[in-house]
Amino acid sequence: MISIIQRYIYEHIDDWPVEVRQSRHLLPLLRSNINYNFVENYPLITRVIFWFGEGDNYPSLVSKIMDKSIKLESIKRCITFQEGLNKKMGYPLYPRIFDIAEISGNIILFEEVVKKSTYETELKRAICGPERSLAHLERVIRRQFNEMGGLFRQLQDMPTSDKPRQWGEWAYKLGQDFRDTSGFGTNFLSDAHLERMRRAINSVPLPQTPVIADLVCPNIFPGPRLIDNIIPDIDELNAQLPGVINVFRFMVTYFYSPPISEIFKDWLYALIVAITDKEGQTIIGPPVRGILSQVGLEPDRSEVIWAFVMAATFFEMKDKLEFYRESPFMIGGKKGEFRQWTNRLVEIQKFIGSNKSFDPKPVIWAQDSLRTQEPPALSFNLFKKAILSLFPSFMRPALIKLYRKFYPKFSTILYLRKGR
């Protein structure tokens, strides 16, 4: 298929605004979405081909092989939406699509390349690369949150409804839908929890503004320049969601995805610490509070902010459950993980209500692993190594594993229980 796409490019490249050193000799680098492995027949999956001119150090063009189930009409609707948003923003928020072609039964998009590292790549380098350091990570997080805050602020300034609306009912229904989809009972996520979330969200009426379809932040292009942003129901999504969900979906996905989740294993606790970190004791406090201020939300109203975090997390979990629904290999693990997250959301909601403060120490300890310049998977101080040496060597790997699995959660639970 690549050779047919290549031929198509050679025939059309002169009509596209693409700079290539030798436009008749393009070479492909193929990227497949790894989520595709265990999720057959999901319509949003794409394969991406980066095209390089001879000797070029950066790709000149990207083509995306869309899944066969995505119809041309849906794609055209998405493109209209993206172009409209680009026009309103005054700069290409979404990469420009030069052409669409149907090749061997698949729809292929031809897009421009954004010559920047992705958010995910920047984070990986700052956390796991040879150049890792706490200061580096702090810089990266601050800049990325600042960039996204600017974007969301611009989107907030484009209301699509006349007057602000209360979004509590929407969030309440989302929570109920998630509970039904996941099969988690009311004992686990009660109506009282949802009601509390509803009331908190209703206390801040917000206008409807454009929604960014796919906010899985650590992705191929920086910010919203994503590979899988073509979705069949873009209009429906825009009609149903409050624009402010952009901010919370961004924060939630940012924190639960690796590599950030490898530093802050109890990511929901890290997020609430960041939201309540007025004094900037952690590296994540100032960026998180900053992005909330940028879109006009008051970070100190932690109950309201947490209600939006809950809604965004329900949205993400419901989305993932749909995604992995037909994957017998993934669905069990995902449900287990989401049960933990839901539990944590509710625990933190209760704790906020008790007016006690969140201790930042577990988050500070977690981020301090980067001071040693060891990647998170290896960080282990000398004291712990000395204790380990008391055990026979064959037991040590299992002990380290147990420690890494339970320590972050255990320590934050202690803080929540003691109410320090």
Binding site: L30, I34, F38, D56, K124, P328, F329
Partner: protein, 362 residues
């Protein structure tokens, strides 16, 4: 399920074959080949103690089904479905099972222009990770040395409703097909196991023989995809055990030294031979292929995320800078990749993919 339009020949005398229900019979030498559970057994390799459990199936990295009672297992596959039965055997979320279903295992198909008129042969098909997915797009013959694996694939293809699929038991060094028939042949994680059928013969010779056979059965201009480990992988220099033998440094050694080490540690010869990039290319050339393109299959050939052309240092450099994930790689290996010249890196990556063509004029 017939493997539409494929002409078989006797692996012993190359005579034509009459296909019966229970036996396939050679018109030339009269040899009868049993058809067991819908799978013809056309193997001429060394008979193992138990035909359904060849020697390499004992290796943890082979991905082959190892059961005491294959018929009982296959009954379970029939009754409960292949996913459930394999899940019960290997564990519902085991890597081996995921390898069997991973859609990205055939991500390299985009390098080709496959259509439904194509005939493909998957050699060393295992449990059908590649063959059953290819069969959604073209006719496929899945060749396995292990009868149990082949019978499993036969049932899997029935359950997945793949009409143009035929599983057979045969040896890669003597393919039971008339020449010039296939548009595509694949060997993913299989070439290194070929010498196990012939433990007394030089392993490289048997690998070369298998490649010659592939070249013979391909149509002129037909494509061959090989997915295989690199014998000169960086990790092996750092002391990671070689994946097939679980022995440190063995693939880096002189062949005589490696043989002695294998005998010393395991009491059996070193057959699961892997090579360097240039040695593989040399093998291809000797077997009669041309237009050989090497690729880096990252992170591995079962769960392909990226396919990177290895003959372009600029693309390797871009991939390492922008896409290589430090979390997937040992920190020391990641540093090698980041700081070494891409042309050096291209010789020491872990998994190769080679796309080669049978010359059009031959």
């Amino acid at each position: 399920m017939t493997g539409a339009g494929i002409i078989y020949q006797c692996p012993w005398c190359k005579g034509s074959i009459d296909r019966g229900k229970d036996y396939w019979r050679c018109q030339g030498c009269g040899h009868a080949f049993e058809v067991r559970r819908g799978v013809p057994i056309l193997d001429i390799g060394v008979k193992q103690k138990a035909e359904h459990q060849p020697l390499w199936a004992k290796s943890p990295s082979s991905g082959s089904i190892t059961v005491d009672d294959p018929d009982k297992f296959l009954d379970e596959v029939e009754q409960k479905g292949w996913r459930v039965a394999l899940g019960n055997l290997w564990g519902a979320s085991s890597t081996a099972l995921m390898r069997t279903v991973a859609a990205n295992r055939v991500a390299w198909k985009y390098l080709l222009d496959i259509n439904n008129s194509w005939k493909a042969l998957d050699i060393g098909a295992g449990t059908g990770g590649v063959a059953c997915q290819l069969a959604k797009e073209c006719s496929v013959v899945a060749l396995e040395k292990s009868w149990c694996d082949a019978a499993f694939m036969h049932l899997r293809a029935q359950q997945e409703n793949l009409p143009s699929f035929q599983a057979i038991v045969a040896d890669a060094t003597s393919l039971p097909f008339e020449p010039n028939q296939f548009d595509l042949a694949t060997m993913v994680g299989a070439l290194e196991w070929v010498p196990f059928g012939w433990p007394e013969k030089p392993p490289r010779e048997m690998q070369l023989q298998a490649l010659r056979e592939v070249c013979r059965i391909l149509k002129p201009g037909g494509s061959f995809f090989l997915g295989i480990e690199n014998g000169l992988y960086f990790g092996y220099f750092l002391g990671l055990p070689e994946v097939h033998t679980n022995i440190q440094f063995i693939s880096l050694m002189d062949k005589k030294q490696a043989e002695i080490l294998s005998q010393d540690l395991r009491g059996r010869p070193y057959l699961e031979l892997t090579h360097s990039k240039d040695e593989y290319i040399e093998l291809f050339k000797e077997a009669g292929f041309d237009e050989i393109q090497p690729f880096w299959l990252y992170p591995d050939y079962a769960f392909i995320h990226y396919i990177i052309p290895l003959d372009r240092p600029n693309i390797i450099k871009y991939f390492i800078a922008e896409h290589l994930d430090p979390r997937d790689t040992e920190p020391s290996l990641y540093r090698f990749y980041r700081f070494l010249d891409p042309s050096v890196v291209s010789n020491h990556i872990q998994f190769f993919g080679f796309l080669a063509q049978r010359p059009k004029g031959k």
